[in-house]
Amino acid sequence: MKKLLLASAVSMTMIGSVHADGHGGTYAFDDEGAHQFVTFKISHLGFSWLYGRFNEFDGQFVYDEENPENSSVSVTIDTSSVDSNHAERDKHLRSEDFLYVDDFPEASFQSTRVELGDDGEADIVGDLTLRGVTKEVTLDAKMLGHGEDPWGGYRMGFEAQTELALKDFGIPMDLGKASETVEVIISVEGIRQ
């Protein structure tokens, strides 16, 4: 009986390690552990950077180990979760002047193709839907690392960024010459499913 238990424990370990040999697969964002951030920065009058983030979003990516260019990623963001650490400004950001969250409660990104670069870098091209406008954007992405975590899972992390013109997505508020574009940085860790 003891032997049997031991044998099954060994085989479990082996299955685990066989699985962990490759690192391809489907990864879900670590929403629960909050190892994921969608942040943005925009110039304030040309004098400083204003940083904000979206607290509620979820997504997953599929990493194809053999052909990384066949990998894909999708993200869904709750636009009302915008947080710039200032209640009055957040209220303004949720209004019709900016995100118009009453009518467009969700923003999303769905990749359509991946162009590989050097050093774990890649251009992830996809459709970004924001404030009801869908446009093709390119995320400048980099794989930061992957491997077994200390708790029996397998994780992989990326950071990607892109620059958006407010006007392209129908955001009517004019913040001035220095603030026509916003840089969006998405930093995520996925847990292999």
Binding site: S80, N85, A87, E88, D90, K91, R94, D174, G176
Partner: protein, 181 residues
Amino acid sequence: MQVFNSSSRFGVVSILLHWLVAVAVFTLFGLGLWMVDLNYYHEWYKTGPDIHRSVGILLFGVMIFRVLWRVVNRGPCPLPGQAKWEVRIAHGVHGVLYLLLFVAFVSGYLITTADGSSIHVFDWFTVPSVTGQVKGLEEVAGDIHYWTTWAIVVLAGLHAAAAFKHHLIDRDDTLRRMVGR
């Protein structure tokens, strides 16, 4: 002119409070509606809300005093010749206006303090947040503030229309009493 209200006349304190609040409420309403649509580079973009918040807090203090004043010093009796239902509706509207004003004060205060920050009343004093940071509170408080303030100006308009009806159609002293006659 008398300081206190009597059974036939309003005193000067009640009269001044009435007109002060009337002017402040319509000014705050207009300022509020105007300031939220200002261009980012407009010189009132920051000043407008600063004044709106400061005057709102001060008006809250004035209204507390007004309610206390009214409790210890009741207004004059209804004029002879006014129907009971008329008096009852008028008093009802007054009560609802008072209530809505306090809802507007609290909701407006909560928009600004929803992230735990304080309200600076001019450069005079600071009112801290009582809730601390509450996620999304500014949205709920904002909706309540918007609709109660609309209700206030509509009701106040009705209240004014009724006063003119007394003055022009009934030709009684309702409006005259409010200016101390």
